[in-house]
């Protein structure tokens, strides 16, 4: 009897360990653990703090109701940072995607150098939003930086990039566009998936390069465009390093990106509760924009299974 039972538990254990669900969960455990500890708990905590006047300095968190959210609407800098961030996203994301698509398209040619070029173009994305790159950018666009040296040598006047509130955002946008590597790789993969037969058929019908690009490449690539658009929009909303390192939000808060203002409120001005409220507001904005993109996607994303 006893033996039979232990054999049965042994079998059960064996089955349990080899069950696909168990294996899956074991492998996913590091992620789940990390997600709960470093994403979910902080997020829930920040949600609670959004309704308090929590500050890092005093460490007291008294319930304040919706006060933080009401204060947001009266905060000039907040409204400005929202405007600046929207402008940043609206300009940088399309520019980045167009540029990434262009380079990816050029690199579909059959040449041995393609892999090398792809790696080269990917490097700026590898160094990513690092402080070092931002510092380089700051030097490039400084009053006596390389860009102004070149302009001067060409007989053009120098430009006061970071002193002019209309221009200051431009170098930051260029920096993000310059890091087009990851979108490019995804586009390149998508381009490879488009059957060559389509192009051959079009060629026989006498379509020129532009027609082939707009009638075949773009529609076939549109699901990937959608993916890149969503991902890049979300990451653009969270841009921080450039503004923090290069301009500190100036002049006249014209580069006060949303994430930088959240940081300032949380760590510089000691209003953690207020900063949490700002973060949740940004979540709503980003959620809404992503939703809009998805809702409109049925008008422009081409799906072969629908045809």
């Amino acid at each position: 009897m006893e033996q039979k039972k232990s054999v049965r538990t042994g079998k059960w254990l064996y089955k349990f360990i080899n069950n696909e669900n168990t294996v899956g969960h074991v492998f996913a455990f590091p992620f789940i653990f990390g997600f709960i500890c470093f994403s979910m708990i902080p997020m829930l905590t920040s949600f609670r703090y959004a309704f308090t006047d929590y500050s890092l300095g005093t460490k007291t968190a008294e319930f304040a109701g919706l006060k933080n959210f009401i204060m947001l609407l009266q905060d000039e800098v907040f409204l400005k940072s929202l405007k600046v961030t929207l402008r940043y996203v609206l300009i940088s994301v399309p520019m980045k995607l167009i540029f990434a698509l262009l380079v990816a398209f050029l690199l579909t040619r059959k040449s041995k150098m393609v892999t090398l070029y792809r790696s080269l173009y990917y490097i700026p994305s590898l160094v990513g939003g690092s402080v070092a790159v931002a510092l380089v950018w700051k030097q490039l666009f400084a009053r006596k930086g390389l860009i102004n040296m070149i302009l001067k040598a060409q007989g053009l006047g120098t430009v006061n990039w970071f002193g002019d509130q209309k221009l200051a955002l431009l170098p930051l946008i260029l920096m993000s566009v310059w890091q087009f590597g990851s979108s490019m790789i995804i586009f390149a993969a998508g381009l490879k998936e488009i059957p060559v037969t389509y192009y051959e058929a079009a060629q026989i019908d006498g379509a020129n390069g532009f027609q082939r690009f707009f009638k075949i490449t773009l529609p076939c690539l549109s699901p990937i465009v959608l993916y890149n658009l969503v991902m890049q929009t979300i990451s653009a909303f969270m841009a921080f390093t450039q503004a923090f390192i290069i301009t500190e939000g100036g002049p006249n808060n014209s580069t006060m990106l949303y994430a930088l203002y959240v940081y300032n409120q949380a760590f510089k001005y000691n209003n953690m509760g207020y900063a949490c409220a700002m973060s949740w507001f940004m979540l709503l904005v980003m959620g809404a924009i992503t939703l809009i993109i998805f809702k409109t996607s049925k008008f422009w994303v081409f799906n072969e299974s629908d045809q």
């Binding site: 890092l56 300095g57 700051k138 970071f162 209003n271």
Partner: protein, 466 residues
């Protein structure tokens, strides 16, 4: 066989020395393996070292202190040097240090406050009221003699006490603000040199003239200190001595009623940005610390300094063949009173979170009182409060330091109110950032100077109505 024995002895010795090194928490445990090694050592060369480590660990507990400060590269270099000196004198004390720029220091400090892990020894300035909960008063250490105050005068102790007489920290030095300038540039441009009674109008005219004649900035950017200049100092320079101040003495409200008192300064600042005699925000962002200030790089003729910063930039400019001078802060009217007061530059405090408060206090005492230590520091944080140290330093003062000593002596002769306040309330950072932004908005023509003054006043008032 012999080889095997040697290998065994060696590995045992290594294990022993490893445990001895990591013995900070449990010295009792380490002595046992160290003794076993002592028995087997005989032929092994490494073991004597392991033994001495074990012995000191048993005699005096190994202590690791953490310390942090903000400042320029010169300060970092000198402070690291004295930390190494201290470690050599006290082999059982190990100091882990971190250094930051001013803004980053306080960002880091705030996160440490939140996690109850503030450095054992940390530097604080006039914004200490915010961190009061984290400061461990030095009172008991002064009584027990661990902190030596024999050569520090009552008045100098007082500058780092709270209103109840608790010793918050020991001041790193006496300090005051001033305008550093290059007389040669003034002369070349034909501008009037600053004197003891110069006014903000004189400052403005000189800056404009220098910009017109030489094409450089008349005045370099004041940075966040433009708030001290345009609000704290400018307001207190009005009326009778001590009549007005930006915040009141107890930091519970405003120290003046008429917001328009700020207008002339804001207007002047905006005009200077527009005429090009003062750096705009873009150029200002290029200044990362006092040593690459436009005065030092030769792109400006004057700048705002804390007196303790002066010797460093004096030496930097001397290397380029330029000689700087130091003028008092401009006044509102030539026959009015001066706005500058003597204050503590910063202080070193012991943290509430410290596991080794006594050792931290002992280090602070050494830092302020040791002549050897201060010979390295060279008063870079301000004029030492210890009279013996000050005498030793001023005996060998470099020309730049001499200017600083003379200047601070001169300012201490100025008429000052009986009670004055150089502290800043929690929330001031936001007022400062907004103030600087309003100045830019005036320069861009978005708002008037009057509106900027009203907004600054409203922002400051909001601190107290939170």
């Amino acid at each position: 066989m012999k080889k095997k024995m040697l290998a065994l002895a060696l590995s045992l010795a290594m294990v022993a020395s490893l445990t001895a090194c990591g013995s900070a928490e449990a010295p009792a445990e380490t002595t046992a393996p160290a003794e076993t090694v002592a028995a087997t050592e005989a032929a092994v060369a490494e073991t004597p070292a392991a033994e001495t480590v074990a012995e000191t660990a048993a005699a005096e507990e190994d202590i690791t202190l953490t310390m942090a400060w903000w400042g320029s590269q010169t300060r970092h270099d000198r402070t690291i040097e004295v930390i190494e000196m201290y470690e050599k004198e006290h082999p059982n004390v190990h100091i882990e240090y971190e250094y930051y720029s001013f803004d980053d220091y306080f960002t880091k400090l705030k996160t440490l406050v939140a996690s109850d892990q503030v450095w054992d020894v940390f530097q604080l300035g006039g914004n200490f009221p915010m961190y009061m909960d984290k400061i461990y008063f030095l009172n008991e250490f002064i009584e027990s003699g661990i902190v030596d105050t024999t050569n520090i005068s009552e008045a100098n102790l007082k500058i780092t006490q709270d209103t109840e007489g608790n010793q918050i920290g020991l001041s790193n030095g006496l300090n005051t603000y001033g305008i550093a300038y290059d007389p040669a540039m003034f002369e070349e441009a034909g501008a009037t040199l600053p004197n003891e009674n110069w006014t903000w109008d004189d400052y403005y005219e000189a800056a404009e003239k220098i910009h017109d004649e030489l094409g450089i900035y008349g005045s370099s950017a004041f940075g966040t200190s433009d708030f001290i200049a345009g609000c704290s100092t400018y307001v207190s320079e009005h009326g009778a001595v001590g009549e007005y101040s930006f915040f009141n003495i107890d930091l519970t409200g405003m120290g003046f009623d008429d917001a328009q008192m700020l207008t002339p300064y804001i207007q002047m600042r905006a005009d200077m940005i527009n005429s090009g005699s003062y750096p705009d925000a873009g150029a200002e962002a290029e200044i990362t610390d006092i040593e690459n200030d436009f005065l030092v790089t030769g792109e400006a003729a004057m700048t705002w300094v804390a007196a303790n910063q002066f010797p460093t930039i004096y030496d930097d400019c001397q290397a380029d063949g330029r000689t700087l001078a130091l003028a008092p802060l401009p006044k509102v009217t030539a026959d009015g009173h001066a706005g500058g007061v003597i204050q503590s530059s910063q202080m070193l405090c012991v943290s509430q979170d410290s596991q080794h408060k006594e050792a931290a206090a002992a280090f602070i005492s050494w830092f302020q009182n040791s002549v050897d230590c201060n010979n390295v520091l060279q008063g870079e944080r301000g004029i030492p409060v210890n009279s013996e140290v000050r005498a030793a330093l001023s005996a060998n003062a470099t020309p730049g330091q001499q200017v600083m000593y003379d200047y601070v002596d001169m300012v201490s002769g100025f008429e000052v109110p009986e009670k004055y306040n150089v502290l800043s309330p929690d929330g001031q950072d936001q007022v400062v950032d907004n103030y600087r932004n309003y100045v830019q908005q005036v320069a861009f023509g978005e708002i008037s100077a009057e509106e900027a003054a009203d907004k600054t006043y409203a922002d400051a008032l909001a601190i107290f109505n939170k």
